[in-house]
Subunit: 373 residues, 2 copies
């Protein structure tokens, strides 16, 4: 390839689909436009953000503003640290026990589906896992009530996955305090609704759903939980070390942090988390309303625990699923295929999905049902 | 901020500096232009690469091509795995012992400066570290000859840092085989010169110098070294698990992989690694020639071990360093400040630095010396 083959496409050729990917997921278009405009020259600096030293004043300001905006959006109190890490939610499945177990040998987990199960499997490398509650018996169709939790006597923490990206199950309630810290994997619904941070000891989220590009993990940790990391915890994943070093004990994923910061600015421009929650409730009601309208489509989750972010649904047969997906793609409704472990369809309708995208999806569902129902 | 505040700057306002950052570092401008052009719509897909599912056909093809091009550039044999991980070089300082120690309790390290020292400190969490050779006594001004290595009887591997980014020391030779695998931290000079992969059991590199954006780590590992990871190694950092899962046991840093792939294409267009090495030799000769011309400037490294990539240098006094840096900035010579632990100046002249940038730097050095020499 020559240099000229690296030239950008001609202006005006841009087209955009409605992107229902579960993650990496759609980014708000104004954010992408801003990234595009600044790509070779960030605000007169003469360089791309991805070319900046992480310790230079420009990037330090970008990261500081991203953190401040994230704190403001979720109302994160000063006694919680915000860390910009790597490794995603699956990395945190190991990093959480490495940081929180201390001398204890047990932790409690609530099992609400695929991601909880993954978290449990990874935690078992480090401790005894006590499953405090599980919805497995009913096919993970619900969130077990907190009154069902049976905590071990000596667990270091309780881990919950507050939105199951594959199963489409979301906690509609915030846990009340128990005798140990509650850790939330909020990867796939963070910033989609208000968060009562003080209910949790740790909240973590891979960025690639509602925050920004893959490769960035946000961790919110109560400062009382620092200082407990095991010796075998790698330094870049040690909350205490990273909190003391402004998340720069290693080079942070600078470009992803920059994009996340722009997403936070966009979210503020939408009116913040309370406003985006109203939009998300509206979008979810539209889609679930169509799913439930006649009984042609099926979503297995109990009504009150249905996720506003990830909506799995199925046509009456797998062949019809395939046909629906082909037609969706042809209509610019992208990445609707269900996760490989469950099949069917999954519409992820994160903050960046406009109502028009859900309307287009519902339109195609209605048309499809008319033909095949 | 409103949506309109997120609009890109007007066309024609782009300006670019010569960027001497040690990392995150300059990206070839044709790559940035391509990223910019494709940012909202990758080749008619209707979405940005950062919005694509990592398991979709488009992204899978992007990653496969990046791997194939990287393999071709360095001539990586089929019995080596290439992994796309996270956590950077500092992450690898823990990940290497977690993967390679197996049942052994000791590893050997060669100490050539700041980054070797960091690697040693991190490895001490996991094993006894035997320092097989060190240049500390001479102020890290050289690479100890391999004949000086005194290996422990039972070390699981030998770790070397083949280019010290801060000290500006680079191995001019390839180690010959010893009775255990040699592990190379090649973060800051990978792809700047040919690499004899078969001399090493593992080669790793943080991307943010010669590969692409921060947040991506490339690991090249001999397949015979798989299967040794300790139980406490987190799954996303377990070479065996990642090798078996196409580096997708967690969501990989997709956008960084895409940019890295474009850098690989750009490098091929330059004629590959042999051609870029000639350009790097030429650039380094120009800069060291100026440093040595009169004795005004100082670089402490022994001539044959001087890094072609990272060139620390000092004016006669710290005040003159400061004055030089101010003038450099005004002339569009950016991020030349030396690392905070050593001061002075550091010019990182990676693959993406054009000869014109080094010429401009040398021009300013000459002018400065005329005034202050």
């Amino acid at each position: 390839m020559t240099d000229s083959a690296l030239a950008p496409p001609a202006a005006g050729s841009v087209h955009r689909v409605f992107n229902f990917s579960a993650g990496p997921a759609a980014i708000p278009e104004p954010v992408l436009q801003r990234v595009q405009g600044e790509l070779l020259d960030w605000r007169g600096s003469g360089m791309s953000v991805m070319e900046m030293s992480h310790r230079g004043t420009d990037f330090m300001a970008i990261q500081a503003k991203a953190e401040a905006d994230f704190r403001a959006l979720l109302g994160i109190p000063a006694h919680y640290k915000v860390l910009f890490l790597q490794g995603g939610g699956i990395g945190e499945n190991a990093i959480v026990p490495l940081n929180l177990l201390g001398a204890r040998r047990r932790a409690d987990y609530v099992n609400t589906g695929h991601w909880s199960t993954r978290s449990i499997a990874e935690a078992r490398r480090y401790c005894d896992v006590h499953v405090a509650a599980s919805a497995e018996a009913t096919g993970f169709d619900r969130v077990p009530a907190q009154s069902e939790w049976q905590l071990s006597p000596d667990g270091a923490y309780v881990h919950v996955c507050t939105n199951e990206t594959i199963g489409g199950v979301e906690y509609p309630w915030t846990p009340h305090a128990v005798d140990r810290p509650i850790v939330a994997d909020a990867s796939s619904h963070i910033l989609s609704r208000p968060l009562d941070v003080e209910a949790y000891g740790v909240v973590y989220a891979g960025a690639q759903k509602n925050i920004g590009p893959a490769g960035l993990t946000l961790v919110v940790v109560h400062e009382d939980l620092l200082g407990r990391a095991r010796a075998e915890c790698p330094s870049p994943f040690n909350y205490t070390v990273q909190a003391a070093n402004n998340s720069m004990i290693n080079t942070p994923p600078t470009f992803a942090i920059y994009v996340a910061g722009l997403v936070f600015e966009w979210l503020q421009a939408q009116g913040g988390v309370a406003a985006i929650e109203r939009a998300n409730i509206d979008k979810a009601a539209l889609l679930y309303g169509e799913i439930d309208r006649t009984g042609f489509w099926r979503n297995p989750v109990r009504a009150e625990d249905r996720s506003r972010m990830n909506v799995p649904f199925f046509a009456p047969t797998p062949d019809l699923d395939t046909l629906f997906l082909e037609g969706a793609k042809a209509r610019g409704l992208a990445q609707l295929k269900g996760h490989r472990v469950v099949g069917g369809m999954r519409a992820s309708i994160y903050n960046a999905m406009p109502r028009a995208g859900v309307e287009a999806l519902v339109g195609w569902m209605r048309e499809f049902e008319t033909t095949h129902g």
